[in-house]
Every structure is written in structure tokens, then in C-alpha cells.
Symmetry: C3
Subunit: 277 residues, 3 copies
């Protein structure tokens, strides 16, 4: 992809192809992940029983492994290897990878055994993967890790290094988003602070990334940028509603998902804000 990313076209393709996306994801945010995938125009399936995940993955166009479901690591491995074998894109969300040894071990094993198309994490998670150091208590990025304009170069370097080393597109999401395949890099500027006040913004982004990759398996970098931007635009729209209506984070969450269903290729193209780095 040397040309300008075609985000509107990516959304159109997603809706035309309506791919089936296999999410092995955590119990906290699974309902929101499923609904935002439906809102985007794809179909989610959340099977996770080790005896059936290979069959399910085989019928899906993409797989998303969310480390919040660390207890289903074996299912992730089975499904991930099946997806690799079939050439289906796998999105890896290393939720809180810096917070425990069992997560670090599982990620290492998945990266070894599975051909990962996209890694999507927050700054602390990407940092932990790139540098092999634990950081971040809980599931949120440590404040010192958050990417600002000033730290953008360093973040892009970090993400790019991880991309080159793993062969995956890396999405480092936060106040600013970095999307890179290790060769080209973009900074995404959509989104809003309230996204950090609902549980599951990151999980939803990973699920959406799976949906876009399922529709555009040959254009992973564009698919990842489209997912980041689509969620960011929906977030901004939800935030305007929140400010106007004096509502809070639960309504924001609903509006965020609603916004994905109401998003059109035109709106996405018009409100997207990103730059090549």
C-alpha cells in the first residue's frame, strides 16, 4: 500500500462481504465486542471450547485472540494454528501482558506458533512486548506510557520495531494511535478521552480490526487504520452527544456502538484525521 489509504472503501468492503469473525475474547466486554462487530457489518462468533474452535475458525474469515481470556489460551493456540494454516488473518490483543507471567508466556507461545496479522495494544502493552519489560498495572496503559505529540517518534519506533520483529502490523492505541507495518507508519488522531472511561474500548478496537481484516485480508495495514479511525470517529460523535446531553459513560458506550452502525464511508472519509509518519 503505497497509495493513500482508502478508508471509505474499506468500510464498504466490510459491509459488502459481511465476514464471519471468530472472537476468543474476555467475559468482561464480549457483549460490546459482538455488538460493535455487528454494527460494523460483520458477524461475530464467540466459540471457545477447545474441542470446537478449529471447526469454527475454519468457517470464519478472521480470528481475534484477546488475552483477557487467558484461561482459554489452549483454544487460542488451536484456533490460531488453524487460521495460520488456512491463511486467515489473526489479530492478537495482548491485554495486560505486563501484569502477569501467565500472560507473558501465552503471548510468547502464540507469537511463536501463530502467524499474527495484527497486534493491537495500548502503549504499556506494546512496550512490554517490544522491550520485554512488564509495565502497567491492570488493563490500562500506565500514565507515563501514554503517547503524546512529543513522544510520537519514540512510540512509532517502538511499534515499528515490534512490527519488523514479528511480521505483524502493530496498532498502538491511545490518545494518539500509531499504526505501522514496520515500513510505513501512520498516526491516527481521532477519538476522545471518554473512550478510556468505558471498559472495552481496546477490546472493541481489536474486534473491529478483525472485522476489517476479515474483509480485506490482503490489506492489513489499511484494515487496521480503518478500524482505528472508524472507532475514533464514532467516539467523537458519541462524545458530542455526551457533552450536549449531560450523560455519562454507559450512554457513551451505547452511542459508540450506535455510531458504528450509523457510520457511512462518506462520514468516515470526511472525519478521518491521520497522517503518514
Amino acid at each position: 500500500m503505497e497509495r493513500k489509504p482508502d478508508l471509505g472503501g474499506a468500510l464498504e468492503a466490510l459491509r459488502a462481504r459481511a465476514p464471519l469473525i471468530h472472537l476468543i475474547t474476555n467475559f468482561v466486554t464480549v457483549n460490546d465486542c459482538a455488538n460493535i462487530v455487528l454494527a460494523a457489518g460483520a458477524a461475530p462468533t464467540m466459540a471457545r471450547h477447545p474441542e470446537e474452535v478449529e471447526e469454527i475458525t475454519a468457517s470464519a474469515q478472521a480470528l481475534v485472540c484477546n488475552l483477557g481470556a487467558v484461561e482459554h489460551g489452549e483454544s487460542m493456540r488451536l484456533a490460531g494454528r488453524k487460521a495460520s494454516l488456512l491463511g486467515r488473518p489473526v489479530v492478537l490483543d495482548p491485554v495486560a501482558v505486563g501484569a502477569s507471567g501467565v500472560r507473558r508466556k501465552l503471548v510468547a507461545r502464540l507469537l511463536e506458533e501463530v502467524e499474527v496479522a495484527v497486534i493491537r495494544g495500548n502503549a504499556s502493552e506494546i512496550r512490554a512486548l517490544a522491550l520485554g519489560v512488564g509495565a502497567g498495572s491492570g488493563v490500562d496503559a500506565a500514565p507515563g506510557d501514554l503517547v503524546t505529540e512529543r513522544g510520537l517518534g519514540r512510540a512509532a519506533e517502538l511499534a515499528g520495531g515490534l512490527a519488523r520483529c514479528t511480521g505483524a502490523v502493530v496498532v498502538l492505541s491511545g490518545p494518539l494511535d500509531v499504526v505501522t507495518d514496520g515500513r510505513r507508519a501512520f498516526v491516527g488522531r481521532n477519538g476522545c478521552a471518554e473512550m478510556a472511561r468505558v471498559t472495552g474500548s481496546g477490546c472493541m478496537l481489536s474486534a473491529l480490526t478483525g472485522a476489517f481484516c476479515g474483509a480485506l485480508p490482503e490489506r492489513r495495514l489499511e484494515a487496521a487504520l480503518a478500524a482505528v479511525t472508524a472507532l475514533g470517529v464514532s467516539g467523537e460523535r458519541a462524545d458530542r452527544h455526551r457533552c450536549a446531553g449531560g450523560t455519562g459513560n454507559a450512554t457513551f458506550r451505547n452511542d459508540l456502538i450506535d455510531g458504528m452502525e450509523l457510520l457511512t464511508p462518506d462520514i468516515l472519509e470526511r472525519e478521518a484525521r491521520y497522517d503518514a509518519l
Copy 2:
């Protein structure tokens, strides 16, 4: 039940009796299932630990086994056998039964060991059960299976055959709903397309069917028709709100549940649209 179904009376009975409904259901939509059961006027309990499900079922008026929780198959068997022993109605939701061998095996075992009062599935699931053939990728009905006016006769035959063969009332839900005990059959015409754009419409219908059956254990056919119609009417009301407000699927889901709490026997009688076949 040779007389006209009394759907308003069924809702009244549900609210008067406020039965306790034991849901062994999947982690994706469990919160919505619990809230719509509460909205309808019943009380849900979602216990699933194999060491306690028999005790819980013994104190409940109905049991719902949702195959999305396939990893809790053993708990379904224990609870189902206890319910059978006590004469409590059991609703079986064969989620994605065509999608994996482990699901097919579990359903076969449940149908063998448990007296199932109602089977509630989409067209692909009912087809897979009736004909023993796998169909449907993921949890949605395959497009070719969806019941239209033209295919209604065939769908009713399929559902009726499964009802006669299992002794269960069969609910085949979709754009048109078929409800039959193998002797009498109804087609339900309430509902709207947006119901397929939220995760859990089917699961919520199964949970509601359990609630109505718990209140009316001797009138399973009427209870199932009341559940289908009540959800369909709530869906239509939610859809009018969606169209008027320019909202999306997350708000629709909330309105669907709200609508169940606001539903009265009068509204249900007035807006119900179904025919005897």
C-alpha cells in the same frame, strides 16, 4: 389448547406468578437475558457450577439450556435431569448446533436424557436438528434457510416433524416465526430486521420462553407463542424509536428490554400478529 391463544392472559400470569427461571446460558448475552427476564416480570438465576445446579433447578420453575454455553454441558445434563424428574419445563436453545461436533453430541444427549418442553432455534438450527445436517456458519441462520411467506409451509413441516419426534413444542424464529407442537401450528409475524443486528435476540427469546413456561407449565404452546409475540412487539416498538431517533443497535437493544418492562397485556393483545396454520 384448541381455543384462541390468550397472550394477554399469559403475560398477566407471568407477572402474577413471577417464577424463578434457571438460565444455563452463554457469557456473551447473559446480562441481556437476565434483564429481559426481569423486565417480563420473572426472576433469573444463572448458576452453572455442576455441584450446585441441581439444587438451583429444584428451586426454580423452569430451566433454560443455551448451547452457547457448551462448556457447561455437564451442568445442563444434571439440571435437565433434575427438572425432568420434578416435572419442570426445560427450554433448549440449540445455538449453532450445526457448527461443531461437540454441540451436536451435547444436543443429542440432552434430547435423550431430558424431557424438553420447548426447542427454540433459528431456521438453520431447527433444520440441523430436524434433518441431522449441519448448516449455518456462526450463530446466525444461513440466508438460504430464512423463512419467508413462500417457504412457510416447508418450515412448518420441518418444525412440526421435529416437534412430533421429540415431544417438544418447536419455535423456529426469524423474519417469520413458526410455533408448533406438531399438531397445531402458528406463524408469528411480529418483529423487525434490526433484531438480527444485536447479539442475543435469539438467546433473549429462549430466556423469555422459559419465563412464560415457568408461569404456565401446562400451556407450553401458548407460552411459547406469547414469548415470541411479546419479544416481537417490543422489537417493533424499539424499531420505531430507532427510526425516529436516528439511533443504532445498542440503543435498540436497550429499547427492546425496556419495551418488555413497559409491555402490558393490552398492548400485547392489540399488537400481536399471528395466524393459525
Copy 3:
């Protein structure tokens, strides 16, 4: 705490300190628990894998063990002992403890092995713990157990006895709430009936109690009263919206969480209604 409780100050402290709260909680209401903890100003983490819960608890300021996740009893024990060792407050929610033997055994073991800071349950659950008798079908309080003005003395005695016997602050929540450390006791009068029409009001209260305790580990009684009152005030505000808007329980749930984010120390102080007993 012999002085008047400073609830506004407690909310301020919670927001200033933004503690990390480790919730080992059930799959039904976990999303709402996480979002209300975020709305209050704290950060939730829901790790429950036995191989990592000790690491997670060690980085958190408080732990909440919700018996609805009875299948994760071993993780609760590991995390609870770690929290005790580190002097972090542990909130125990004995969901449906009267409904099964496996729950009774787990609670007994947790009370033996873990230093519990607060026990938060409904009237039937506290009764079952205090008197060792099973009561309550499902997860709701049995109607005969609900605390009214007339039964307040008896309820306070029950809760106080349990507090003295366990060393924990006891919160018996319902139409009236009793909060006591066995020496001092308060009755909370905030809240509304609709809170019993959504799943998870009790779970959310326990999660919030963990959040306040994480911010104020040395002032458990005040923290518990602040949590009860904050949720009650948010509930009343959500209920006014419900009555004005003709909405139902799903919207109420969202408004309840929104209300927690919009709550200020001033509103909390002004709308709190409680008495020392």
C-alpha cells in the same frame, strides 16, 4: 469514626487516588461492575486465572470477591490470602449463599482464611450468614426478609452480630440499607425500587464498596456508607429520568452508571439520606 461521616470527602478521595480494584466477579454483571467502578473514578481489573490472581491483587488497592463466580473459588482464596498478607481491604459479596452447599462451603472457607473488610449482601444473604440458615431462592432476597422500618431493629442486630463475629463491616442492602461495624450502625434511606428490576445492583454496590475501600482503607465503615449512598443517590436520579421519560430497566441501568460518573461530592452530600442507629 465517631464524627459525622464525610461522604463527599470519601468521593473526593476516591477520585483523587483512582485506586486499582481487583474484581473476581460473576459473568452476568461483570461489565456493569467494571463500568460503574470507572464511573466512580477507580480502575477495575477482572483477572481470575488462579496462576495470576496473586500478582494482580498485589498491584491492586482492594479486592472484591463475588460469590456469583463460585467456580473461581480457588482464585478467590489465593487472591484473598494475598490481600490479607498485604493489608489490602477485601470485600465479600455472598451472592445466593443460602441457595447451595458449595456456596456455603466457599464462604466459610473465605471467612476463615481471609481478613474480610466488608461483607455486602441482601437481607437473605446476611441472614443466612448470621444465622447459618439457608434462605432465598435465586439471587434476590426472600420477600419476608426485606428490611422495613418496622424490622429495622432486628436487621441491625443481625448485621451487628455478624460484624462482631467476623470483624468485618457488614452492609445489608435493600429497600433500607444497614451499614455497621458492630459498634456503630447507620441506616441508609437512598435508592429506589427499580434497582431490584435490573440484574447487578447488588454486584455493582459490592464493586463500588471495593472502590471506596481501596481509596480509604483505614475508614471502612465510612467507605461502605459512601458506596451505599452514592449508588442510592444515582439510583434516585436514574429513577426520576425513568418516570419522566417512560423508559424501562435497561435505560435505568445505563442511567445508574451514568449517574455515578456525574455524581459530585456536593450532590452526594446534599442528597444523602441516612441516620445513625
